[in-house]
């Protein structure tokens, strides 16, 4: 049988979404990252076109509280200073994007003020030139104020703000729309919820090219199989023509570091530092194979491995 007969063509295509704005585009980023645009299953280059490779966004957290000890060791003291951390992502670790997580705004933790969050965003924007995604702390009332300030601080930069959730999306979406930023639409491992979230945002007036969706990545060993299948189904739905599923997918692979098995002491499983790197590598690689367009990652060695693996998968090496 000729190969041709086995190839599959889809009518749907994923939206192209641009993150960040250069000087000409009204911002100060060194480049603009575009994701999406594919009209076939992930890396199925033999039967579809995929104008953009998945990109790697490295995360920067504004509190070292949530960073496991082993990471503080392997990544160095920079993780104690978000601005230095972001610079490192850009200069040494080869990130395509940066995701700044404002977790310390959480009223039940450090409860950092809106003004402090805003000034951190300004500093990161000044010190680096990667396109930027900014996540709030996940507490709705606080995020409403934080995100409004972030949106203003990043005017012109075409940030992506996260995360819009079913029960808490209006204020953050309004904040994004106010300054031409994009939004990250979160849903919980369920294709109908993902769809519902996109519909809510579209009805609210958000344009599809301003939405990327996060269907929740469960790490390797923590329910990865659910995420893998949800993403495959989302992608198949989008490709077979469902317009409200044709958004690029973003997944947070740094969740691998929260898996006890990744870092536990157990000689039979080798050294925890290296095992952790593989844990994040395989989590991210699986996410990409299932359809993720943007991989949020943390550990520089893992980033290197994933980048090389994806470029080979895309036929580059």
């Amino acid at each position: 049988m000729a190969n041709e007969a086995l190839k599959e063509k889809f009518q749907g295509r994923i939206h192209e979404v641009a993150i960040g704005a250069t000087k000409e585009q009204g911002g100060t980023r060194r480049s603009r990252i575009v994701v999406g645009g594919e009209n076939g299953l992930p890396f199925h280059k033999f039967e579809s076109d995929a104008p953009h490779m998945p990109v790697i966004a490295m995360d920067v957290i504004d509190t070292v509280r949530v960073v496991p000890e082993q990471l503080v060791k392997s990544m160095g003291p920079v993780v104690k200073d978000p601005v230095e951390w972001a610079k490192k992502c850009e200069r040494d670790w080869g990130a395509d994007l940066c995701v700044l997580k404002l977790q310390s705004a959480n009223p039940e933790e450090e409860n950092r003020s809106v003004a402090e969050c805003e000034s951190l965003v300004r500093e990161v924007l000044k010190a680096t030139s990667l396109p930027l995604v900014v996540y709030g702390c996940g507490v709705e009332e606080k995020d409403a104020k934080v995100m409004e300030a972030v949106s203003n601080a990043g005017r012109g930069e075409r940030l992506f703000l996260g995360q819009a959730e079913e029960k808490a999306f209006k204020s953050i979406t309004a904040a994004a729309m106010a300054n031409g930023h994009g939004i990250v639409a979160f849903s919980n491992l369920d294709i109908n919820l993902a769809k519902q979230m996109n519909i809510l945002l579209l009805d609210f007036g958000m344009k599809p090219e301003n939405i990327i969706m996060d269907p929740l990545l469960a790490a390797l060993g923590m329910g990865l199989e659910y995420s893998y299948s949800v993403m495959e189904r989302l992608r198949l739905g989008a490709l077979s023509g469902d317009p409200v599923l044709q958004m690029p997918i973003i997944t947070d692979c740094s969740c691998a570091w929260a898996v006890p098995e990744a870092l536990e002491e157990d000689q039979a499983k080798g050294k925890p530092e290296l095992r952790g790197v593989y844990w994040e590598t395989l989590t991210a690689y699986a996410a990409a194979v299932a359809g993720s367009d943007i991989l949020i990652m943390r550990q520089p060695d893992a980033v290197k491995r994933v980048r090389a693996a994806l470029s080979e998968l895309a036929g580059g090496a």
């Binding site: 049988m1 190969n3 890396f43 199989e225 593989y278």
Partner: protein, 442 residues
Amino acid sequence: MPSAMEIYKLLPKKNCGECKSPTCLAFAMQLANQKVALAACPYVSPEAKATLEESGAPPIKLITFGPAEAPSKLGDETQLFRHDKTFYHPTVLGIIVDDAKGVLAMKAGIESAKSMSFERVGQMVRVDSVAIRHSTGNPADFLESVKLAASSGLSVVLMTEEPKLMAEALSLCAPGKPLLYRATPQNLDEMAAVAKGCGFPLVIGGAASIDELTQLSERAKKAGLADLVLEPVATSANLLLEDMTLVRRAAIRKKLRLLGFPTLSVLGSSNSDEAKAALGIMKYSSVVLMEELPREFVYPLLALRQNIFTDPQVPIQVKAGLYTVGEPNDKSPLLFTTNFSLTYFTVRADIEKSRVPVWLLVVDTDGQSVMTSFAAGKLTPEIVQKAMDTQKVKEKNSRNEIIIPGQVSRMSGKLGELTGMKIFVGPRESSGLPKMLKSLTA
């Protein structure tokens, strides 16, 4: 399975009733529903029988190799995507030892493969196989290692393209039913003769394209071989993905019998090969053979395999009930958790670290984690209380206190009311349990 009408066309149409169905048509309908066996009709022609057996066979043949106690099962898959039903037979993972490195290194390699065996969420996950390869080394070393491998308990793959050496090797490990690697367009006839002689499955590969692989499969079939494993091109990750996908589609969507066999990928040991091994697991390799790899990689790879091959309908779970950790008495602490395997084994391991004996009540939440079942209403104070009653917890434990997962602190009030017990809200992560348990019993 063909439809009732397709089957009916092939039946003798005597309507004699000897099959215990009143008519041939009735019999055909029963057959289509797999309620009866074709053998019940004494009059079917051999040709009809062959046709029916072939069209009723699964799209990808089940191939088994390895020792009878722990066989490696390949193929018999029916889906392209796991969410459509499930993937049945986890990719068999094997470590290659090569005679270029000498017999001592080969021996070490076999030992290392044997040691890659772990318990994870209540299941054993391990490197299943060892592949003994003759390349540039001494055939005597190769044969020596085959003998060692035969008694390793792992399933064995014999890797040589020399038919004579293959015949010699397989006689050294025949009771363990090795997999023979491989026949190529160059050696197919001789290798097929060896495989036919012993009846063990044979890998066919070395073809430059899927078309050529199909032709090779046809030649093997003509040579009388029924148990094949296909090796599509895997020189780079993108080719591996393409060929594996097309072969799987050909077998499942087009019912192409010549490609309806399990698949195999032979990899090296670079970072790129590690990624390909993961890809093979996700994208249709039935067997992945790798050169020696760090255990820091093997363990997460085995976790990936376990994840991908979990039945999407049924989470891996443990039986609900009252478990003991250590030897608790009626004053020992009591805790509860859910019956999701991942949750149970994580919590149990953390309790064990404390060395404090406890009672652990495992509540039936349909195999869901603490937060998932709580959000889904499958872990309520009422359900916990009922589990306590059914398990007669109070008869065994008089402490009248229960430690609950920190993530469901919200249920403390109600649970206290229902059970009359004192509620201790535990840490959110069970990793905090050793500290808590030690302070409780100090």
